[in-house]
Amino acid sequence: MKNKKKTLIYLIGILALVSLISLFVGSVWVAPTELSGNTIIWQIRLPRVVLSALCGVLLATSGVILQGILRNPLADPYILGVSSGAGIGAAIALSLPFSMVILGISSIPLFAFVFALASVFVVYRLSYVKGRSAPETLILAGVAVASFASAILSLIIIVSGRLQAIYFWLLGSFSLSSWGDVWNLLPYGLVGIVISYFYSKELNALLLGEEIALTLGVEVEKIRVRLILVASLMTAAAVSVSGLIGFVGLIIPHFVRLLIGPNHRMLIPYSALGGAILLVAADTLARTLFSPMEVPIGVIMSLVGAPFFLYILRTRAGK
């Protein structure tokens, strides 16, 4: 327990440090003495840091709950096709000649959510064999749906005539972050993480297997549907502001499990923190590696994440 508190303090410290670095470095270097009234810091970099941290929280948390509820350490919103589904929705919203606001909510996350749900529903249905969802089939179905979705995405991009805008958004980037995006995303983040946290006891019971979870009074099917909804909502929210950023939900929970164990009460908040650290750091790299040119953060995450996915796959197969 003591160890876990220490880990928490370290993680918070790292997040603070990475965020500070991210604020001051970039194509324009800002000295800590020039802070007050500095537009670059307050209007460009700070919202960008906050936004990337928020996206990290959302993606890592949805990874944890998808892995828990599907009892599969390879589950991740990107791999399961949730992200690509959300991408289709967001691309459609982006390519509409007018921007819609429904009930005061920007149409982009809404479209993203609807399509994320549609694709997760298809994946879930496809993986359902003999009354239960088999993890292997689920991953395969996810891969198939993801590649189908990316074909649709390409079609939308070509037909819409806004190739460059959508394509760059798709690769994943925080280069257009504003405070508005932060306020749009914050409610999803808060609601998602709070709901997930209170379901951590059911996720823990599921560590013992579905049947034992049932005998512990956990209504597995019902809770699975609810948590998939929550995970899709969080993913869609992240995708709608940042494009497709993969593997956060895979890498972070994996490391956090090694650090503090599989208890979801800790796994969820610690992973949220880890996700924030990873994306703030990755975004800093994206801005500075080839400065003044920017590399899409999605490209960086896939460069790191795909080999990592294979690594987990191999170590799992070895067991």
């Binding site: 009354g131 823990n204 560590l207 005998t215 512990l216």
Partner: protein
């Protein structure tokens, strides 16, 4: 019905995906009894246990637990009344014995809260009851099969069930742990009802008050161990020639295989 029965099963039929495994079983279990279910592989022992805890819905017949109809009970209520120790439970990597036992308190957690002082008190009671103080902080993945089986039972006990079901609790244990687990179950049944499946007829005879012998999803004999373990019944169930002797010291029925 006197209301003293822990379990009343009537004409139970059930199975998986249209294949019927249990074909019309009826029996009763009194409160505080330790009943052993025996029979050859594939006779439906595990399926019966799953039906008794509501994991499988009967296609026919009824199950009453402590005077309540099982099919009308919500999952949460069942989980506070009945606990199951499955045949194979995987140790959760990274959990300690104490954390594992606490998982047994899940039925008592409320939606927006976590374990309370009560839950910790029950956990401590279980640990004391099973004399596990020394291993409480050991990771479960470091335990031997026999020790882990005790943790699995402790986890079920933390549910404070009135009826405890165990699927082959001693099958993969050495003889020392077999006796240890059976003695533990005999102690548990003093305050609750225990039903367990067994392959080892001699162990079942030695520790259970009553045996139910099954074959092909039916009960072919039921009663005191010395009544059930007869030459004819053993032949009927297993197609094995055996003689039934009496243990001269404990007076329990015991099988001797004939060539």
């Amino acid at each position: 019905m006197s209301g003293e029965e822990a379990l009343v099963v009537k004409d139970l039929c059930c199975g998986y995906d249209g294949t019927i495994v249990i074909r019309g079983i009826s029996f009763q279990v009194e409160r505080g009894e330790f009943v052993g279910i025996v029979g050859p592989n594939g006779c439906g022992k595990t399926t019966l246990l799953k039906a008794l805890i509501g994991l499988i819905v009967p296609t026919h017949g009824s199950i009453d637990v402590y005077g309540k109809k099982l099919k009308e009970l919500p999952r949460k209520d069942i989980s506070r009344m009945i606990a199951l120790v499955p045949q194979m439970m995987e140790p959760v990597k990274g959990f300690t014995v104490s954390e594992m036992i606490l998982l047994g308190r899940t039925p008592y957690f409320e939606r927006f809260s976590f374990e309370t002082e009560d839950d910790h008190a029950v956990k401590r009671w279980v640990i004391a009851e099973l004399k596990m103080e020394e291993m409480a902080d050991t990771p479960v993945s470091n335990l031997s099969g026999g020790e882990f089986q005790r943790v699995a039972i402790a986890r079920a006990l933390a549910q404070e069930p009135r009826l405890m079901l165990l699927d082959e609790p001693i099958s993969h244990l050495d003889i020392r742990y077999q006796v240890k687990i059976l003695k533990l179950l005999r102690k548990i049944r003093q305050s609750r009802t225990v039903i367990a499946t067994f392959h080892d007829l001699n162990m079942a005879s030695r520790f259970c008050q009553r045996l139910i012998l099954m074959k092909n999803g039916e009960v072919i004999a039921s009663g005191r161990p010395d009544e059930v373990l007869s030459r004819e019944n053993i032949w009927k169930a297993y197609r094995i020639k055996a003689e039934v002797k009496t243990n001269p010291k404990t007076k329990h029925a015991r099988l001797v295989l004939l060539p």
